[in-house]
Subunit: 442 residues, 3 copies
């Protein structure tokens, strides 16, 4: 029976408990507090001036903004599907809570590979772990509705490792710049997820399933996610920059990019609709492209003027992607991208390369050509690891052991969740309906 094959009764507990036990053991062995978490400097008894300079006070508000983006932002953005709200926000929650633990270990391990010693944790590791988690959630958006939670946890294991390796190569070996993660988070997460969903292609999905769409209330829930991502993107891009004017500037540039992006999103959404009506999918997603597209460049002296140009272009490209490229990917390349992550994270992440290449020439802020070349190499490395990694992980996820849903079970919470009945009134209405049907049968 189909029901049996998707059961999570043993699969999910085994996966969750095994993974968490391994995490706990590795944390016990390898992790210790950072120096301003343990108070090793010896100022434990009284609150001294030194205590007010703890990194906590300069990073924690940004961390909390990023945390809201990960759990509310991504979680609710994906609730747009009519009967997949429990899974969208619930699996987002599970995958994120797992990924941030694993990311702390893998990122920390790679960080200590040169210097030796234990993995140090504190508010900076919390932010970096949330960043890696964001990349996993972007890939989750590509396969949304078509996978089991155990499949997603498995994907997260591999993606966290590959993400961290790519990030290490870019930031530590190639000395690329990417504070806001245009390449490391968005480009990587998008193309990795697109490859996974390509390998998991379901040729008959559209015929057997009508639930890959929104209803009125689900679109409003999704706007909660959109707005939190939009409002806090300045915190995201600036969360891990150097302190002072650089952090200030990063937040400011991102804010202008997003504002300009919003206007171009509305413009192109209306323009591309035959009746001139706005499409919620565009507003929910494309309006955020201005944050992605400035992930690297936001810390530079690109001026509000430059930020607004980048944001405006990112919004336009993203809407055009939803209108023309997503259907093309699905029909020609067999890539079923549920949330359209290619339009929000893939292309705007690549747009970044042009931004970073272009702006040094006009602002002279940046040692231009050498760095631009390094950024281009970094993008190639990122695409390479994401595409090849995504294909391999896709095949791993194709094994028939994860309890994946059948085509007709896709985009349906009922497969993995106890779903409550409708309100009493609706039940009565439904009873009326079925009563009539039985009358007709008689």
């Amino acid at each position: 029976m189909a029901g049996a094959s998707t059961s999570m009764r043993l699969r999910l507990p085994i996966a969750c408990i095994a993974l968490e036990v391994i995490l706990i053991i590795l944390f016990g062995v390898a992790v210790e507090y950072d120096h301003d978490v343990s108070g090793e400097a010896g100022h434990k008894t009284n609150t001294t001036h030194h205590d007010y300079e703890n990194e906590f006070y300069y990073r924690y508000p940004s961390f909390q903004d990023v945390h809201v983006m990960i759990f509310i932002g991504f979680g609710f953005l994906m609730t747009f599907l009519q009967r997949y709200g429990f899974s969208s926000v619930g699996f987002n929650f599970l995958i994120a809570a797992f990924s941030l633990q694993l990311a702390t270990l893998v990122q920390g391990f790679l960080h200590t590979i040169m210097t030796g010693g234990k993995i140090h944790v504190g508010v900076e590791s919390m932010i970096n772990a949330d960043f890696c988690t964001g990349s996993v959630l972007i890939s989750f958006g590509a396969v949304l509705g078509k996978t089991s939670p155990v499949q997603m946890l498995t994907m997260a294991v591999f993606e966290v490792i590959l993400f961290s390796v790519n990030e290490f190569i870019l930031l530590s070996l190639l000395n690329a710049k990417d504070a806001g993660g245009s390449m490391t988070i968005h480009t990587f997460g998008a193309y990795f997820g697109l490859m996974v969903t390509r390998v998991l292609y379901r040729p008959n999905l559209d015929k057997s399933n009508k639930k890959n769409s929104s209803v009125y209330h689900s679109d409003i829930f999704a706007m909660i996610g959109t707005l939190y991502l939009w409002m806090f993107w300045p915190s995201f891009n600036s969360a891990i920059t150097l302190h002072g004017d650089i952090q200030h500037r990063t937040a400011l540039n991102t804010y202008y990019s997003l504002a300009a992006c919003t206007l171009s999103t509305y413009a192109f959404s209306a323009l591309l609709n035959h009746e001139g009506k706005l499409d919620m999918v565009h507003i929910q997603n494309a309006a955020l492209a201005g944050g992605v597209a400035l992930g690297t460049a936001a810390e530079m002296m690109i001026t509000p003027f430059g930020s607004m140009i980048v944001g405006f272009l990112a919004g336009a490209i993203s809407v055009l992607g939803y209108r023309f490229i997503t259907p093309f990917l699905e029909s020609k390349l067999k890539i079923q991208d549920t949330c359209g992550v290619h339009n929000l994270h893939g292309m705007p992440g690549i747009l970044e390369l042009f931004t970073v290449s272009l702006f040094p020439k006009i602002t002279s802020d940046f040692p231009a050509s050498a760095q631009a070349g390094m950024q281009a190499i970094s993008l190639v490395v990122t695409l390479g690891i994401a595409l090849i990694g995504g294909i391999i992980v896709g095949f791993i996820l194709k094994l028939p052991i994860y309890g994946a849903p059948s085509d007709s079970q896709c985009f349906e919470d009922g497969v993995y969740w106890e779903v409550p009945g409708e309100p009493e009134d609706c039940q009565e209405l439904a009873a009326v309906k079925s009563g009539e049907e039985s009358e007709k049968l008689n």
Copy 2:
């Protein structure tokens, strides 16, 4: 055809792209980073002690709270209408993203008019721009459901300019006090919006339209907006005050005013209902009046005691306004105030004058009568600019070029948005219903 006349296919793209291009050009010509954004002090290479004193760390958390109020607070507060959720939160998003860019320019231009030089941007300009945006969104609340997005963008252009002129007169010329914007934001936005909706009066609206009301879920969505406005109002009033005890005190006083306001709101809402039942409209709106009414006085030594009295009165006045004054405005003065902004922003903003006049006498914190007189003059100026400006802008918005909805299209997302169908089950029910109707016709 009615459908054609409301089409946004060309109107909205032209408006958005033209406005954004003009904004980008003006930002390119006139705007530069503030000194602690550009790092001109020369501490760019290493993170120094100086970097930790960047204004960013003392304003950005307040800014983010204000930002949440603008996009989630106002946006979701207006989702109470049963079929206008996309427009409420979506047009709020569009208008706000536009207004904050224009406000940066106009406020900045007026700020440099004395001193010359370029417009400087940083976290303070971000807060001030969000404040001006708040005023536009208050006016949006008065005309909600009865206008096209192009009409709203046009209103925003004029209102941002008039807001900034009024703010400049009050704060720079008259030396009025108004850190939390009782007059500049709330009184101005409310009376401007009331005049616009007066000019746009639709005599047959109630007869042809049943959608100017809430449903169960839309009222819960609206509470998201209410609660974020309520929780973060202390940040709003204190976001731009001087640092130190003044900022601390402003947040504290606002917090007490809001708490007391909530109790009087519940009390009067039950008292004025024949069955003693609470009305969601009151809870969603009047409970916030305590924040408005303390916009000016919150930074003074008015004590928690004084704050609570003001908050208590503001809640009572606001509920009474919803019960008695809104129907009067509509029936007698032909002012159709969709969200009741007169009760939340108009009257409480004026109540402020009494607060500011009264408290100096008992606290001796304030050079009493001279300043009180100046506050009164400021209120007259604000009302003058808002009322006259609102009438003129109302007539500009009456031109038949904006694709405004017909009476029967008001309060209905379907005019400007692709609205998804109902969930599958509901469609079947609807089919049952229409089937029966056709049977009856046979």
Copy 3:
């Protein structure tokens, strides 16, 4: 008539106005600004370096996170009931706004009992008042759906006083440690509420009422509450610790505990369901137990490893509680615990004692046995005051003067709120239905 006996037309206004007037008078008599709120240090005219060291900047972001937990977190967590969303979020709002004012007075009074002088208010008193409010809202969760708002306000009066007395005994007399309030907030609030609901036991509730359950959208609304509580729990536990590494460590440990707790919650939720399906009640609640269980220990050097073990156990215990203990409490002990606060706040709060007793032995951070004994005594005191207080207050709330709902009116907004009709389409469907029924009757 039943309708008359539940009317809030006079009861609620009298209660709200009387309570608020008393609060205002007591604030006027007994409260003054803390020294860094009033600016008594004499640095009022210019912004000096000193102003940047105001406690406001080091506590206010944490305060706002806690504030969101109280109003959005608790408020929306309780919206899971199908027709009790207005009451859940609305009465939560009312009770919290009242409780934080009263808590400021009672906590402040006890604080000055030794030293004399007036009650000082500032950002620390704001956090402490929100903490006390949290305890009242936990008890609200136990009786949710079965009480009138006046009953809840009455409960809040007594509970705030008893909470503050217990907190004073623990922290000031017994020198217990409890920065995050495992005992003072969670254990106290849970067992107090359980006793109140025991005394208010309704034997025929399940027979006459089908509304004590969720619907699809209400479960998604509840996830908003869950996620905000989950994300901001690190701020909750660390909001009032000493500054510096201790605050940093408290947030970090809580974050790891919650992450591990989430994985064990999903594991046990699937394991205990016959079809292996996840239960929203578990996810919404048990995933938070990791924050409760670390309320005391989070500031200690228990390491991420220790935090994750505690969180993992807390999640498991909490799910097991929902599955086995809640039905037992209801059928055998006649305790009808609407939100299952025993599983989220009761047991995890007690688990804390084992944590605090266990970890000092392995970390040597803590003067072990003496303090562990004091923590045990504190837990006994807390349970004693909560259980006895809850029974007494329960009997006070049983008086037939509060307008409590009848059994069939429980879990139904319509008793105390003006509830809007269904959307037009639904009304037509309902008309179809009733039309048919009348046909059948004919």
